[in-house]
């Protein structure tokens, strides 16, 4: 029976995902499931087969005469501008004329069926003049390749303090990349309309950008292009800019042929032709005192950006923003090097460079701990932000909300860190083949787009005359539960059951000029925009009630599906009907922009982040030192999501992010051969975590006492990215197990991904030093 005194689906309630029933019955519609309009054609991309060179001759005659082929589209068919770059730097052609990576699109074939288009695309005869190529950071540095975008320098204090530091350590860390492997691949279905119109159904995190880029390529105003996204089968950053290409090709073909055109690459082409997480080489030097307190840090962060700029500027910036993780660097100098390479352009991926910066900070802490023969957790805690004069980041933002001392202490206590570390050391002292490791690592992650103007959002809410509510906002749903959370915000504000709120697909027709659903900001931004729309509606309803019922404004109250008007109580739908009859506007557009933030990139100073999200993880692993194989025996997590909007969804995000982070650091290895061909282009060779890779014991808790110091939506915090980096605990635990073979005398310096192969090599290396 329904509780008459409350609503279902208020904020803070563990309401199931809005599409839960549709997901378990197979009725949730993804782009490839949309009924194709009659006459739909299928496009397929023809990809380059060399890493760098000029196309001397492109013979497409066999492609054109293949069965079912309707047309072939190339650079000359792009009506306006053969470019799909997201950032206006005009360095990302839709169809390449000079090849800059292996797998770059050079033409598209359009056929009656997808199968025919796929087969025909293989028939092109291409003559290239090959040019020298550099596919990784080291090769690019040696070849003197340029940066794809301007680098960043962060500086505070006086780096010459390094010279006076009691101890100094220098090192290099190689941090691997990662393929998104969203289970639903890239896809676009473009349907031409009258005039210059085209409607694109797709699976992007950034509908507005697709709209703008397609309009730019077609040479039409943005108002002619509509982009719809109901849901994605995973995004993780891989659909922030990468969908631009597919939407442009589908739209160009659809307008040229005046027929609907669908484009969906197969998995191998998707992995070959779309960007990934940047891999980094970090060169660092850290100076510290006898206690292990950091005196100075100098770091150079070289990133494989691929052939164009894409998001590499902000990604490498964010790497520097997280080069401190949770630690105060009294004197610091950090430089980014966003290097061009002849590989696919790397792009956004959960954490957006932050994990790569953060993990080098953890390496430095480990270096100090091994050097001083101390428990790494002690070194970590010693260097946390906090205390007089120890709260300023390398980008000159003051850390005001640090709760890591409490989080790490509570986690260490609840998961018995001290006792278990002693037990691990005792186990390893027996000298067996199986070695154990244990590590507790913290995360501090800055929340806001560092491009300040992206921190805005809109929402559109209609209340229909029957009382039902239509909710629309600029955020996209990729499984993270954003739609559910925003619906809860609306249900809570209007005090109606969440079931009365219909969540509708994201479309550029309803909320314009939206930002990508990225940077973990979805519910922060769209939740507040939706609340603003609700506040406007409530104000109108209140004014109407005051006028009609002669009550004082404060006697108007929405509560539990009813409207309280002084002593009178009216059902929500009846009251809405009255308001409609009295000609009250029952539709509102809400808006929000994040306050307080500012950032001056030139000076490297500002407050790029509205707040920080925190967390800590404790992982214990077992390593077979004869094979390098390992398993995660147990992980405990305590994570801060502020006051949770939906604890079930937030916990799922924390668990999923941790495991995905584990994949990044352990099994997921990208491998390009010397020709520049990605050899790990399918799940047969690219290993993402399976059910059996999950920690054997996995205790995940949200810090239920936490709340955001800033007035975010219901004092909640962003959750998408921060817990990804909790997986660093697994890497450091593996390191400890490896280090045990040399009595912990040396920092194991495990690079990532720490595949069993790499772990075994580290064991052998350390054994050689004994």
């Amino acid at each position: 029976m329904k509780d008459e005194l409350s609503i279902t689906g208020a904020t803070g309630e563990a309401l199931p995902h809005d599409s839960a029933i549709k997901h378990v019955t197979g009725k949730a519609e993804y782009t490839d499931d949309i009924r194709e309009p009659a006459g739909t054609l299928h496009a397929y991309l023809g990809l380059s087969t060399i890493a760098h060179g000029k196309i001397e001759a492109l013979d497409l005659s066999a492609v054109k005469t293949a069965p079912g082929v309707i047309d072939v589209i190339g650079p000359a068919d792009v009506p306006a501008d053969n470019d799909c770059s997201a950032n206006g730097m005009h360095d990302e052609p839709i169809f390449a004329e000079t090849v800059e990576f292996l797998g770059q699109p050079i033409f598209a074939v359009v056929a009656e069926s997808r199968d025919q288009a796929r087969r025909a695309a293989q028939l092109a005869e291409v003559k290239y003049t090959e040019l020298p190529h550099a596919t990784n950071v080291m090769a690019a540095r040696e070849a003197g390749y340029p940066n794809v975008t301007s680098p960043l320098k962060l500086e505070r204090g006086d780096i010459t303090a390094m010279e006076a530091a009691p101890h100094r350590l220098k090192g290099t860390m190689v941090v691997g990349g990662q393929d998104h492997f969203y289970l639903e691949g890239q896809i676009a279905l473009a349907v031409p309309g009258e005039d210059e119109d085209v409607v694109i159904n797709t699976s992007t995190q950034h509908p507005s950008e697709v709209q703008h880029v397609v309009a730019h390529a077609l040479g039409v105003p943005s108002h002619s292009v509509v982009v719809n996204v109901r849901r994605m089968g995973g995004g993780f950053g891989g659909k922030e800019t990468q969908m631009n290409l597919f939407c442009c090709v589908a739209a160009i073909a659809a307008k040229k042929l005046n027929r609907p055109v669908k484009l969906r690459p197969d998995r191998d082409d998707d992995m070959t032709a779309t960007g990934k997480r940047h891999d980094f080489v970090v060169e660092y030097e850290v100076g510290f005192d006898d206690e292990g307190r950091i005196v100075a840090v100098e770091g150079d962060y070289f990133a494989r950006c691929g052939f164009c700029s894409d998001l590499s500027g902000p990604v490498t910036d964010r790497a520097l923003f997280h080069a401190d993780n949770a630690y105060f660097y009294p004197n610091v100098l950090l430089r980014s090097h966003p290097l061009k390479t002849n590989t696919v352009s790397n792009t956004a991926f959960r954490g957006f460079g932050g994990p790569q910066g953060l993990i080098a900070a953890e390496r430095m802490v480990e270096e100090i701990a091994y050097y001083l023969k101390r428990d790494p957790l002690e070194i970590r805690k010693l260097n946390f932000y906090g205390g007089e004069g120890r709260d300023l980041t390398p980008y000159h933002q003051t850390v005001e909300d640090n709760i890591l001392d409490r989080i790490t202490d509570e986690l260490a206590e609840s998961a018995s860190y001290k006792e278990r570390r002693e037990a691990v050391i005792a186990w390893n002292a027996r000298g067996g083949v199986i070695r154990k490791g244990i590590a507790l690592t913290p995360v501090k992650f800055g929340i806001s787009f560092t491009a300040t103007w992206f921190n805005q959002a809109g929402a559109l809410i209609h209340i229909y005359a029957d009382g039902s509510i239509h909710l629309n906002h600029g955020g996209t749903e990729m499984g993270q539960g954003l739609y559910t959370k925003v619906a809860q915000v609306v249900a809570d504000a209007l005090q109606v059951d969440a079931g009365l709120v219909k969540i509708t697909k994201t479309t550029t027709e309803k909320v314009p000029n939206t930002s990508a659903t990225a940077a973990s900001s979805g519910s922060d931004l769209n939740g507040m925009a939706a609340k603003d729309a609700c506040d406007q509606l409530i104000a109108r309803l209140r004014a109407f009630a005051v006028e009609k019922y002669g009550i004082a404004p404060e006697d108007f109250r929405l509560y539990a599906n009813r409207v309280h008007l002084g002593d009178t109580v009216v059902e929500w739908d009846a009251f809405i009907r009255e308001a409609y009859m009295a000609r009250v506007q029952l539709s509102a557009a809400g808006f929000y922009k994040t306050p307080k933030i500012h950032w001056d990139r030139e000076s490297g100073k500002g407050r790029p982040f509205y707040y920080f999200a925190y967390g800590a993880a404790l992982s214990e692993v077992s390593v077979d030192t004869l094979t390098g194989e390992y398993r995660v025996d147990r992980t405990d997590i305590l994570h801060d999501v502020g006051r949770s909007l939906n604890p079930a969804i937030d916990k799922g995000q924390v668990e999923g992010a941790f495991i995905q982070g584990m994949g990044w650091l352990t099994t997921e290895e990208l491998w390009w051969d010397d020709k520049g061909r990605l050899r790990t282009h399918a799940p047969s060779t690219y290993k993402i975590p399976l059910a059996s890779d999950r920690p054997r014991v996995f205790n995940v808790a949200l810090a239920d006492w936490a709340e955001n110091r800033e007035p975010t939506i219901k004092r909640s915090k962003a959750v998408g990215e921060p817990p990804f980096m909790l997986a660093v605990s697994v890497l450091e635990a593996l390191g400890m197990a490896v280090a045990s073979v040399a009595d912990y005398a040396e920092c194991p310096r495990l690079d990532t991904p720490a595949t069993p192969e790499r772990v075994l090599m580290a064991v052998e290396r350390l054994r050689g030093t004994r």
Binding site: V24, E184, F236, E655, A682
Partner: protein
């Protein structure tokens, strides 16, 4: 080639090219889009369906090979005339066994088949012996479900849901 497929209790007569996979027959010819195409290589499990109660990757088998076979897809998992959710489907909701949902149809079909295999005493790589009497331990469950990838990594929820449903069905 004329082929008759019995899908979720309904017979469908199709005239198919012999190279059409069962997955494409379901999605493109019958409009049953619950089964997903994740990798098209038989490696991700998103297309898992049940053929005669056994789970298979629909992308790796040809439709014409299944003339007369009884096929169950995610659309057919709901039990009873009223289409009420199966215990497994309900458990996936209760335990938050998905995020983006793209792997969910495959996970559900796979788990349904897996519980049947377990009940029939099929061993797995994680089984200690071959006596045919297996508990649904975390090891067994993870091993038996390792053909179904979840990139959102909802494995904790998926595992909890399957164990819950297995208990709710009074087994096993």
């Amino acid at each position: 080639m004329q082929t008759t497929l019995s899908i979720n209790g309904t017979e469908h007569r199709l005239d198919l090219d012999t190279r059409v996979t069962l997955l494409d027959a379901l999605r493109d010819h019958l409009g049953l889009c619950g089964s997903k195409k994740g990798c098209d290589h038989g490696q991700c499990g998103a297309c898992t369906v049940l053929v005669g109660g056994r789970r298979i990757n629909a992308c790796l088998t040809l439709a014409v090979m299944h003339d007369g076979d009884e096929i169950t897809t995610v659309e057919g998992l709901a039990e009873g005339a009223d289409g009420g959710l199966s215990p497994l489907q309900r458990a996936f909701i209760t335990h938050d066994g998905f995020q983006c949902g793209y792997c969910t149809p495959g996970q559900l079909c796979s788990a349904t088949g897996m519980l049947g295999e377990l009940a029939e005493g099929w061993p797995s790589h994680a089984s200690a012996d071959l006596d045919g009497n297996y508990e649904l331990s975390q090891e067994e469950l993870s091993e038996r479900m390792s053909g179904n990838i979840c990139r959102c990594s909802c494995y904790p929820g998926i595992n909890a849901a399957i164990r819950d449903a297995a208990g709710a069905e009074g087994r096993k």
